[in-house]
Structure formats: C-alpha cells, structure tokens
Subunit: 400 residues, 2 copies
C-alpha cells in the first residue's frame, strides 16, 4: 500500500562503498586491507584548517549567507585568479561539497523527464544525483584502448536528443584520469552552442594534471550563458569531510536560481568555511608538493601494473584514478573474492568494480577503478598482492 | 534559446531574507536594526562545540560514513532516549541540516508530479525544497483566530487527492508556534493509516514547548511504515551554522533509500559531527535554561504586543515564533517602510512579512512573523519601535 517513490526504489548503492562490509570482515580476521577503492586522499589536510578552526571568533555558530561567507567567496576568487581564471563575486555560489554543486546545476538546467549527456565511464553519482532530480543520464562511450579520448563531434552530436539539456564533462576525469585536450574542449564548446545546451564542467581535479597544463572551460568564448563549473575543495586540500564546493557561472539567470536554491537550504557550513578560508591562499609550493606526490604514485602504479600479464591500462594524464582491465571473468566477483578469500603476506586490496561507472549493461565487467591514494611503498605492496591474487583467482580469464 | 528549468524559474526568493538589502542600507545610515525576522538564535552555542572542534584528532579531514559517524549516531540515540524516544541505529540517518532531512524525505515519498499536504501558514522552504524535487505542496488552512489549531479530520481528508503522498506536520510549528495536541496527532495518525500516506513530522523545535509536554509522532502506534521524523541540531543548540540534522524512520525500505541518497552526496560534515558530538550529551539543566529564556521572551513579547491597539495575536505554545496580524494595508510594504523610512530613538525592527508563509494568494497580507531571538530588553525596545511605527505608518488600516 505504502509505496516508496520510483527514485527511492531505483537509486543504486554506491559501487565504491558496497564492498565495505567485506573489507570490515577481512580486517576483523586481521588482514591488512589496502584501500584503493575510494577517492579519499591520504595526504594530511593542511594544518591551517585546524588552526583556523581553533580560532573561530564568535560565540554563536550562526547560519552564513546562502551564497557563502563574503570572505570565503573572496578567497575563492583569489584561488581562481591564481589559476588564471577571472571570477567576479556574483558568479560564485558556495555549495555543500561538489555533490551539491552538481545537484544544483542539474536542477537548474533540466526539468523532471529531461536528459543530460555524459561520457561513459563516468562518476557514478551523476547518475544518482540526476535521479533525485528526476533527470535521465544518457551516455556516449569512451574506450580504454585509446585512453578514454572523447568520441568525434559527430558521434557526440548523434547522442543528443530533443530532450537533452546539458552535457556533463568531468575534467580531469573521475574514473578514467583522462584530461580533455584543447580540441576536445573546443568540440564540446561548438556542440553546446549549436545545440543550445548547458555545459556542466566538473573541474574538481583541476590541479591534478601530470603531463600538460589544465584547460578550463572558463576560458571558452561564447559560452557565457551555457557554462556552469562545479568545483570542490575536497581533493586538492585533502578535506573531503569539510563538504565545501562551489559553482561558477556567468549566466545571470542561473546566478539568481542558484541563490534561491541556496536560500531553500539556508547555508553551507559556517564552521567549515571559516576553517577552510586559509587553504584558498596556499601558495604554489603546496600544490607542487601534492601534485608531485600523486605524479610519482601514478608512475609507480602504472609501471607496476603493466608488468602483470593480461592487465591492460593506459597511463592517465590526470586526477588520481586509473581504470584498468583485468584478466578476470567478472571484476565484481574478483574484488569480493580478494576481500573474502584471499590475502598475500597478510594483506589484500580493496578496489572499485568498474561496472558501477557504466550505465550501459554489460560494460566495464572486467574493469576496476584504482585510486592511488596511498604512498608508493604501499602502492607497490598492493600491486604485488593484486598480481598474486590474479594468479590464484579461480575465475581467471585467458592464459598468462 | 537556453532556457532554465521551470523549477529554476519559479523558485521563490526567501521571504525571510528578501528584506536583507534594506536592512543593510538602514545599518549603513547608522540605524540600529533589531532583527526579529530570522530563526537564528542569539544564545551562545554551548562551548563544548568549540572545545571539541579544537581537539579534532586526525591529520586528514576525511569523508565520514554516509549514514553518519557511528559515535554521532550513538549520541543521537542517547539524546532521543533522554526525550523518551527509543531509536535503533539503523533507524537514524544523519543529514546536512534539517533542510536535507526534509529534502530526502520528500524525494523518497513522492515522484515528480505527486503532491504533499501541509498546513498553512507553513515553513516556506517546504515549498522550495518540494519544488526542487518536482513535488507540489497543497495546503489546508489554519487560522490566527483559534491559535492555528488543525482543521477537522473531515476537512483534512477532503484536501487529500489521489496524488497526495505525504502530510508534512511541523510540530511545534514554524511560523505559528502552535504545538499539536494529542487529539490532533491522533487525527493525523488515523488519516495517514486510512489513506496510506507518509507523515513527515518536522520536530526541530521539540524542546520549545512552554505550556504542556511535547508529543512526538514517534510514539504513535501503527505508523511504523508511515512515519519519517525530520530533525535538526540548529535551534536547540544555537548551532545553525553546523548544518546537522537527522531523519528517523522504522520503514526498512526508507532506511535503505536514505542511505543510498546519502551515498550519492557522500557524507555530512565530518568536522561538524565531531564538534557537535558533546552537545548530544548535554543534561536537563542546559535545556531548562534555554527553554526558560525563550518562555520569558514569549511572555514578554505577547504581553507587549497585546497592548498595541489593532494588533492581533494568540499566545503560541511553542517554537520561538509568533504570527501577528497588524493594522496595516500590506505587511510587505510596512516591513520595507520600517527599514527604509522609519526609526525610533535610533532603532527599527526587521520582521518577516507573512505572505511568504502562505501558498494561497492573498492570504497573510497583513501578518508578520516575529522570531523572539533577542533578549527581553531588546524585545521590549523592538515592540516600542513597532508601536510607534504603526502609529506613523501612512498605510495604517482602521482607527485606533
């Protein structure tokens, strides 16, 4: 009689978090579980955060303005300026993490029943957040063989229907690590203009580009009304628990709508904004150190993986993820098996089965996403365990 | 060409925040603006919050579990137990403020195009948050003349259509201050059961009951599958900026859905949960002090208002709001006029025009909501200024 809504019935469990109970059980048996499944950086949050938190000056922890604390908005503008992006205060909306940024962007671009387009494999939560808003996610495939380059403009255009309202582009990409080239960005710019679509550019991993400079959609000409940038402090400052992100747009209608949606949820965290403020003023040396560490990890990881027979991956240019094809029957089963039936020298590895990053049934079944969020020694230990696991796994595919 | 979604075009500006620019201008002219418009308590946040914030023990501010930090959930269970409510861990979902609690509840109860029913006047953001979810809010009227008592069961039943999925009951009520009687709760319980509806009980002001004990829907028999309680730490701990709330339900399907929606937005604030943990263990003396202070304010405010000719209000039993009918042509204009054209002994008052709390056009046009979130001296000063303003206001209605 009492039926839940369709979205409540259909929303998928997180593919990144669903193996958590098996990992807990393994730890309970004394196994050292090397977590490579979740995009939770291990690097310390800059101590400036905790110092500022300890100096909160007001006796009342009040709501902050719905758009964000003015000083925090100023800090974001400074941060963007350091990244070559000129942003005005009215173009910023402070959000409760990148998740709320994506949610608000979707709510403003599309009606219930409308569609948005993204590139498969894609960040799973686009699908869940769109479902909350009654929006359907369509996908255009990218392939591991060519390092997940975008399809041709023609292929992308063909995937656009009269119901499509926006293209979501994650750059650098979670889960593939691909960084959009200037040509790819130009292609999307043209399509957005010719088809009258919004672009929701998820630039959360902006700094994490290892081989070539990052290109933001913010610099695209003629996208003033089309572009929404979704951002988050989580990854660049190892501050996932602070739940702070932002939206940028030059579209004045969107600015108004973001503010009103923001008023409906009152404010982002006051304490978090206060504490995170000094992070926005960190200098180049901070980013150099962090990005240098992740680059080293990427190189270590890819080199070690490419030594394992039957494992296929390209060296990704950015973010801190790697999508890898494994010589197994089913990566869901393999990942579960590694946690429940396997250990090597007391350790095992927790990975994210990649089927959760695909919307097309049957795709990604032998792939996993690896997040390189542990140091190089531990990464090497993890890859050794993975290699042994692949040799022992009963569902191994092909010979090696 | 590039059209925003209908919800982005239609979402209203906050009626509580829309006079903010006029207040800023008044302050710029040196006027002392007494803020009685917003539900932002002035009492200090318990220092335990800031002490715990300064003792955050981990070098990495990581995501917390999507359901909430286990110790925080334990704290909530302790808090509920102190309020006579037996709650099990799986029945709790930690949310990003009461706003997210309402949002998640709506998303799980209703599809885009479905309706929910609430009692008018109502907390404005129900309307905005429902609009985000593609849900329409229908209303059943309550009246200032009888202290905003619920209509008869027959009247409520008549307002329910085949599209209605849930009833939202705010108890104690923002904006009226009315506290549901046992009979009113029993009436809603019967309707929910006979019509197969969810009840979303917003019990954020649970402690703020001045004349009789609070009755939670949690104790209703036979509502196991129907009931969702939405809650928030904001008001009871003067911690609005912490963005922490919770959902309670015994419905296992809803528990699963809340968790999955929670995974889609990853986690509530880790730092906020850590810092707010000791608040959940505060003893009876804390609540007695806080509730005693608000009771004193309510009595002071109502007594002073009832001395002003033409002003109509009932003594509300709970929350920290009062809905008052003023002898003016239009409370929107009057509230703006008080900020832009009036001061008395260097001060003026900022109120929330009540039309924003009504969905029915033309209703509440001469009413305002007063939040008694300043001390009694300042409340008396505010009411004196209001009285002088009413005497001077060019749009005064009726004689006095």
């Amino acid at each position: 009689m009492l039926k839940l809504s369709r979205r409540a019935q259909r929303i998928p469990a997180s593919p990144i978090r669903k193996l958590h109970p098996l990992a807990e059980a393994a730890r309970g048996r004394g196994v050292d579980v090397i977590n490579l499944n979740i995009g939770q950086p291990d690097l310390p949050t800059p101590p400036e955060f905790f110092d500022a938190a300890a100096r909160f000056g007001s006796p009342v922890l009040a709501y902050s303005p719905s758009q964000g604390i003015p000083a925090f908005i100023d800090g974001l503008i400074y941060y963007y300026a350091q990244n070559g992006m000129t942003v005005r205060p009215e173009e910023v909306m402070v959000t409760i993490g990148g998740s709320e940024a994506i949610t608000m962007a979707l709510l403003c671009c599309a009606n219930p029943g409308d569609h948005v387009l993204t590139f498969e494999p894609f960040y799973t939560n686009y699908y869940s957040l769109a479902m909350m808003a009654g929006i359907q996610v369509d996908v255009c495939p990218t392939r591991i063989e060519n390092g997940f380059r975008l399809p041709s403009q023609r292929t992308i255009s063909k995937a656009i229907t009269p119901k499509t309202r926006a293209i979501i582009a994650c750059n650098p990409s979670n889960p593939t690590g691909a960084v959009l080239t200037p040509d790819e960005i130009e292609g999307l710019r043209r399509i957005a203009r010719s088809k009258g679509l919004f672009i929701i550019a998820d630039e959360v991993y902006r700094e994490f580009c290892y081989d070539s400079p990052f290109n933001s959609f913010w610099h695209c000409e003629g996208l003033e009304d089309h572009l929404i940038i979704a951002d988050s402090l989580s990854k660049r400052f190892s501050a996932c628990g602070a739940r702070l992100g932002s939206l940028l747009t030059r579209n004045k209608g969107l600015q108004q709508a973001f503010l009103r949606f923001g008023q409906a949820r009152l404010s982002a965290g006051t304490f978090d904004q206060h504490a995170a403020l000094p992070l926005l003023r960190l200098g180049r040396d901070y980013y150099d150190r962090v990005v240098g560490e992740y680059r080293k990890r990427r190189d270590t990881l890819v080199e070690a993986l490419q030594m394992i027979p039957g494992v296929r991956c390209q060296k990704p240019e950015g973010a801190f993820y790697l999508l890898v094809d494994l010589p197994v029957d089913d990566s869901d089963k393999f990942c579960a098996w590694m946690l429940s039936d396997f250990s090597h020298e007391g350790a095992t590895v927790m990975l994210a089965p990649a089927n959760g990053f695909y919307a097309t049934p049957g795709k990604g079944l032998t792939e996993v996403r690896i997040a390189y969020i542990v140091n190089t020694d531990r990464l090497r230990q993890g890859v050794r365990a993975l290699q042994v696991a692949l040799a022992q796994y009963p569902g191994r595919r092909g010979g090696a």
